[in-house]
Symmetry: C2
């Protein structure tokens, strides 16, 4: 064991010639302290390098200053999704800015037992004050419990139930705009490769696809649609199947950039060229999409804003400054590049704010 005891509030109080309470006020920025006294105390604190004991503070104030971030159990696997790390990072940044620390909880939200463990390990001992849940599945066992406990939480990605707290991006609007854009390019035989529809955002993306087709009066039954994993291999084969089939599509809307890249790969492997023979639009607008050679047109999610919004909502919930359910939507936009058929040096044909990315060389 290493030496334990360190400075306490009382020690500082004695050193500065004031009471414990006054030091506490200074530490907590309580205005009811004379300026001269405040300075004196602050100097003493700085001199000895005092920092209040977190446990004592948590015990007395009933606030731990820690929030939990639930990430899917197979951290490693999910991190294959290039969209995920920036999200986590923005949550960590935002939490830090609001004075909270973050505990990463690698837990399944589907498994009843894992959920129970999580609750009894972190929530009941009051280790954490709130929870950000990064994966909104339809089979979520955690959220209902939090809901009934009245525990502050926020989902990243909406839930199907209407009474949940969440922040989300307008997935449906995103694919709707993207598909409309493709149609305006003259596409006649649209197809979509979607992620697994156990994930709510995949559902929404499909609906946006369908919205656009309906608006254009296209028969949904004549279009092709298939589901693959968002990030894992599989899209390549799915795309090949489509492209070799009877109703070879002339454009494919992919539910993620990773899928889009596989699609382009597949198309080129059978001698098709993008966008001439096949227009492609992805989703997420990951870095790889911005690669000049690739020039993937993609629906952009405001990932950083999403993380910040989640923390913001959660903190409001924790502080009782907002009444649940709190639901916040962030807009998706279309990042136009080459693969949709646009020459990126000229204005996009769409109506939207599909703006050119800085990464694209100006014409």
């Amino acid at each position: 064991m290493r030496d334990d005891r360190s400075m306490t509030l009382n020690d500082i109080a004695k050193l500065a010639g004031v009471s414990r309470s006054t030091v506490s006020r200074v530490v907590n920025d309580d205005p009811r302290v004379r300026e001269s006294v405040r300075r004196r105390v602050q100097e003493t604190i700085a001199q000895v390098g005092y920092q209040p004991n977190a446990a004592a503070r948590a015990l007395a104030s009933r606030r731990s200053g820690v929030i939990g971030l639930v990430v899917p159990p197979s951290f490693a696997e999910v991190y294959a999704d290039p969209w995920f790390p920036p999200l986590v990072q923005s949550c960590l940044d935002a939490a830090r800015d609001t004075g909270f620390s973050v505990m990463v909880l690698m837990d399944s939200v589907e498994d009843e037992e894992a959920v129970t463990t999580l609750i009894s390990r972190f929530i009941r001992p009051r280790t954490i004050e709130g929870l950000v849940i990064t994966n909104s599945l339809q089979s979520d066992a955690l959220t209902p419990k939090l809901q009934s406990m009245g525990f502050p939480y926020v989902l990243i990605g909406r839930a199907v139930e209407s009474d949940r707290n969440f922040v989300d991006v307008t997935n449906r609007q995103g694919t709707r705009l993207a598909m409309r854009h493709l149609l305006e390019h003259g596409c006649r035989r649209p197809a979509m490769i979607n992620g697994e529809e156990t994930i709510v955002s995949a559902l929404d993306r499909r609906h946006g696809f369908e919205d656009a087709l309906e608006e254009a009066g296209i028969d949904l039954h004549a279009t092709q649609r298939t589901n693959v994993d968002f990030w894992r291999p599989g899209a390549h084969d799915a795309a090949l199947d489509m492209l070799r089939g009877d109703h070879r599509p002339d454009c494919i809307l992919a539910a993620s950039d990773t899928i889009a890249i596989s699609v382009i790969d597949a198309a080129e492997s059978i001698g098709m060229s993008v966008p001439e023979d096949l227009a492609v639009i992805g989703f997420d607008d990951i870095n790889a999409a911005r690669n000049e050679r690739l020039g993937l047109t993609s629906v952009k999610q405001p990932v950083d804003a999403l993380g910040r919004a989640a923390i913001d909502v959660l903190v409001q919930l924790i502080n009782g400054r907002a009444q649940p359910p709190v639901q916040r939507w962030l807009d998706t936009t279309l990042s136009i590049r080459h693969t949709c058929g646009c020459d990126p040096s000229i204005a996009p044909p769409g109506d939207g704010d599909g703006r050119k990315e800085g990464a694209v060389a100006p014409g």
Copy 2:
């Protein structure tokens, strides 16, 4: 604000008709409790779903049960390294097994100010009991401070200083074996593409490369070596430069699988075939390496064991069951596949335990 007050030790004591102390003993698995009493208390606890308050516990016991995991500041960027997520995951798993929770600290260890912040936010308030540091750079500003404070920490990846706690893999031995293997394949003009040598493991990998060459009596000055980022693009161009140069190498040892894949890409783009024209060995043995089509021979790191070892060492340090410096080495091995020139269906020519991977189809 939500309702606060919940069950306490005292409440359980009253319900079970025993004293606070007895309940505490039951909760903490103290043997000095009669079996019948223990059962009664446990039942009461289970009934009301009691969990001890973490803050009170931490305050009284002077132990928070939390350790910090320092990851590089640009979480998102580093996660491009496919080797990193499994490492983090193994740390999280191992910590959970030992009853610790993990707080992810996204902080630079180079920046003096960031280090000060980290110390005053997490260490001095005693929020965390120990620190796992995942990136061992040569310009580390954190470790010296921890060292002089006597604060428990462990580096993943050795430090250049001899008195640090660390766990590491035998990088040098790994590249030495790999290079020797290439030489046994008849390579005459070896080259290496290394990571940035501000990272200690890159240094070690270079030394292993040199060791093998010296053992074989090959003049180091006649070999080519260059440095690129471990994970970011750049290796492609570096490889092209080498392969188009005057002394075109007949084998390249890459310091990461990501680099190795770029190298193979580059070679094939100028009409060379691997392994016939160019033998390649990578490092890390990431999933992509095991891809059958690619069949990348690679130096395998026991990533999972590495994370577990780190937590193990840290916990021993925290509990005073080990005296610093604690240093632990884990072996690297060679995973033989196609790109080194071996037919994976037959035994490798090397002396090592370069064993075939299960992923490789038996001949």
